[in-house]
Amino acid sequence: MKEELLLEVKNLETFIPTPKGQIKPVNDVSFSINKGEIVALVGESGSGKSVTSLSIMGLNASAIQYRPESSIFFNDKDLLKLKEKEMRKIRGNNIAMIFQDPMFSLNPVHPIGRQIAESIVLHKKVKYKDALVTALELLNKVGIPDAKRRLNDYPHQLSGGMRQRVMIAMALACDPKLIIADEPTTALDVTIQAQILNLLHKLQKESGIAILLITHDLGVVAETADRVLVMYCGKIVEEGTVEDIFENPLHPYTRGLMASVPELYGPTKEKLDAIPGVVPNPLELPKGCNFVTRCSYATEKCSQNAPTLLKHPSGNRVSCWYPLEKEGERGHYETAATSFS
């Protein structure tokens, strides 16, 4: 597949001033998404995934501010510098978003057809009646049975999975180039989760939409994504293709995340403990590597100096002084000493 750049996040850094000091929910994050690509953004709760995605949409809470060096390029425009009016033309039109809990993300007092049609009339010069026809097609496309009758249903009349399909239909309404799905399956039953992921995958293959798939569950990623970004405490700690990440995770955090997904490491392989400890308080981050408090391979160097994201010979980019070897051993060479970037 030829790679054509769609979105480029550069040095994204957000901060929230608090009386006790600054919190940086996203701290110098850079990544890109190519056309038609599914990129997974993975990390535990609180690692800054939602703030990253809302930065792209320009919908972060007003408490969250951006460092001036941050930029997010889409169609040669820096979204962070756009006027609100121009940003509105992009939201829902070129970049659409699917949220975590379809229970609360749909307006409870409007029929679903109306909510989908709204997106269309906002961005396209069509009559509301014609937009409803398109809404019906979209409902069929996302697999809502008996869609014609459902058009006038209210969200509470649908199941969770159906509601998330409606959200997806809404996101598709204006043929966006990019869909950001922030934990689209977290609030759903396990069986429904797979259906929703399959649907996203299918739509991506059919229409070539790029998807930024945000999740805290690596199990979700394996089947769906092309590329994986692993995020911890506001920073990207590892990045690679889905094969490289799963076959050869370099960061102890990535490996820990995998260990917490049972089906990835079958009973034959030795089961690793899920990551011990808790995410550090964002106001009291360690001096060196953010993961040092929970890493079983950490050394004195890790607690003193923060590693940077560098390319490893195996293909991934990783931010660790001692990237892991295949069997989960601590690396033989130190990143800085060998300088393999």
């Binding site: 919908l59 939201r91 829902g92 609360f104 007092v109 309404a173």
Partner: protein, 314 residues
């Protein structure tokens, strides 16, 4: 489905009406001061007193009196004023049209004013409009309405002479005079309601505007005013509908004071006079009509709520 819901709501009304009227009826008869003595004067002979008492049915136990009254009331007969001999239903009905116009005018002021203040305050946060709305939302409920009424009269009637200080013209007779006459009483009455609705809708809207579905709306590219009017308002109004329903009853009660201040010949004034004269048949009629009104309003509130919120189970 909806009709069935209506029918069920109506069924609730019957026992409610029964119980409330019984309670009110009993209380009215327990008001200190004997209507018979009020009619005959302090010097009446005991025989005369006993005779009139029997004539009015006051020698019966209260519960018997109640059922007698109820039986007649169900046939549309509320009796005659023991003081003037006027038919109670006629007197009450003519007063009701006056009070109804006053209360509706005050409700319009409350709802329109409350929505205006709440919405501008949310749309322009921390602007002077926002501060006015917040200040007013707090102050408006604290000012006694009779005091506000007197201030308004002093300024707009006595000093500026723009509108009459007292009196009432029905909207059917002369709409312009109606507006002039109703303005100050309706504002005095509606200030409290405006403040209540402002405060309640403002906080409700503030919460709703942080809801996930409003964020979804923004993610579709809607403007702020559209997010407020199209997505926020209907949701934010849900709890406020109840406030508005209760407000109607409060305003109805407050007409007692306002009609006295402005010398408006409405139900409130009739109620005050009936109490002063111990005219218990008239008072029973007044209170019955007020209760029925409040129950009807509650009924309408439920229906409006069901229309606004599709999640209501019929």
């Amino acid at each position: 489905m909806f009709l069935k819901y209506l029918a069920r709501r109506l069924l609730y009304v019957i026992p409610l009406l029964f119980i409330t009227t019984l309670i009110v009826f009993s209380f009215i008869l327990l008001i200190p001061g004997d209507p018979v003595l009020a009619l005959l004067g302090e010097n009446a002979t005991p025989e005369k007193v006993a005779q009139l008492r029997q004539q009015l049915g006051l020698d019966q136990p209260i519960i018997m009196q109640y059922f007698d009254w109820l039986k007649n009331a169900l046939q549309g007969d509320l009796g005659r004023s023991i003081f003037t001999g006027q038919l109670v239903e006629e007197a009450v009905f003519s007063r009701l049209t006056v009070t109804f116009q006053l209360v509706v005018a005050a409700m319009v002021i409350s709802v329109v004013g409350g929505m205006f203040f709440a919405i501008t305050s949310i749309y322009y946060p921390n602007s002077w409009m926002d501060y006015v709305a917040r200040f007013f939302g707090t102050l408006g409920t604290a000012i006694p309405n009779f005091w506000l009424a007197m201030l308004l009269v002093l300024f707009f009637s006595l000093k500026l002479g723009w509108v009459p200080a007292t009196g009432f013209t029905s909207i059917n007779d002369n709409p312009v005079d109606f507006l002039k006459g109703i303005l100050l009483p309706a504002i005095s009455l509606g200030a409290m309601g405006t403040a209540q609705i402002t405060r309640h809708l403002r906080s409700s809207l503030m919460e709703v505007m942080n809801a996930d579905y409003v964020r979804t709306a923004y993610s579709k590219g809607v403007k702020r005013w559209r997010a407020i009017f199209n997505h926020g308002l209907q949701n934010a109004m849900l709890p406020v509908v109840t406030t508005i329903g209760i407000l109607f009853g409060n305003l109805l009660g407050a007409t007692v004071v306002i009609e006295t201040v402005f010398a408006i010949p409405g139900m409130g004034q009739l109620a005050v006079n009936s109490i002063l004269q111990r005219d218990f048949t008239m008072l029973q009629g007044v209170v019955l009509v007020m209760i029925v009104l409040v129950i009807i309003i509650n009924f309408i509130t439920d229906i409006v709520y069901a229309i606004l919120d599709p999640r209501i189970e019929y």
